[in-house]
Amino acid sequence: MERRVVITAESLITPIGHGKKDIVRSLLNGVSGVKPLKTDNLLSGYIKSKVFGSIDYPMEYDFKRSHRKTMGPVAYYACQAVKEVLEKAGLDQEFISSGRLGVAFGSTHGSPTVQRNIYKNFFSGSSDQFSQVSAVDYLKSMVHTTAVNITKMFGITGRVISSSTACTTSSQSVGFGYEMIKYGLQDAMICGGADEYDTTTVAVFDNLLACSTAYNDTPHLTPRPFEARRDGLVVGEAGGAVLLEEYGRAKKRGADILGEIIGFSCNNNGGDLILPNTRGITETIRSGLENAGINSGDVDFISAHATGTKMGDVIESQAIYNIFGGDPPVSGLKSYMGHTMGACGVIETVITLYMMEMGFIAPTLHLDEIDRRCAMIRHVTEFQETGVRTALVQNFAFGGVNTCLILKKI
């Protein structure tokens, strides 16, 4: 039995705004959420890239202590996004705790802020016999901390999936949640991802020469996906969540239907853990279309992974061209906020839904001169007022993991 799956509520906390109104305003005005990298008194001084997709507006939380005590910063983003999703959806507590609602939520590596404090303690050389790892440090920092803090806060008793595949974390969450409902294992799923401010991730990409460094004095001008003067990605922080529901159930309860997920694919390049792979990405797109039961000509918008790295954008362009030729418009939404890692998949999915609903396509920011090696596909360089009915959201991660989500307007 295969069931239809729809998205019925969303919430995003991003460098370009919290919630639909702020985010759409930023998209329409070409506002970037990339700011100077904040100091952390540890790594930031050594990192060459001095830019970061930052949440620099105040966040107010009203979580009670019994919930806060097991949460690091990443879980705050996750739980706040889910709280807003559940408020919008208006699901009753009986269903939430029925076992028919599950959670698919992850982050790149739990809470690095908390992990850092643990190591600080370990290596402090302190003779204080009471300086030890706190009972809650593991719960705050473990890799599935977002998913289980969500279950605890809202009393969710269904399945828990906690992907931690870097840049495909939340696209996998949405995709695996979709499959849970499609094949009848759950009736609804809360899906998403989050990542907090963290210089460890920046340092990793910095060491690999993959971070942007040429725009340290003008952070709002980077990253520049597909652009000739791009010089790498910009790490960012964010959180995002969606509620997926079985179509019949959503219809019956009169839920707002934001869009349908009609297909998902996920594969691995089967080789290099860092370099993207044209064959692997092409195959992901091909199998995504097959899973959705549509042809390449049916897709009228592609949200590209488009991190702004030298090679990644070229390889992604080649893969898109292999399947679609130069037809559907392509945008790289990371140009607005940098690479929010574990959150980027759900963010790009939700922004695509916003654009579908409101009838526009946001251009890739800063795309002044398209790199000729990326020029064979149809880039969106200016705001377009246009209807999008079927869209593809693609994401790729370290480790050779590729995902492709296919969304349809109902």
Partner: protein
Amino acid sequence: MTLTREKILNNLSEIFRTRFEIENPGLDENLREAYEFDSIDAIELLVEIEKMLGVSLTQEEKKSAMNVRTINQICDYIESLNASG
């Protein structure tokens, strides 16, 4: 130095206020039922008790604290540690 019960109560009051955001708990209130004070909190409290007494508790001493439910019982527990120490 052995702590008086009054001093222990004062210390606990401060710990519960600053560490657990619990203001003036009743001496015989069930902390789990009234404040969701659970086993994780109990482990955190044991660290605070070690600091208060200036000693490291043994695993057995820690395990014996797991059935403690009220402020009065915590005082009894600390006094028993004081007595055995």
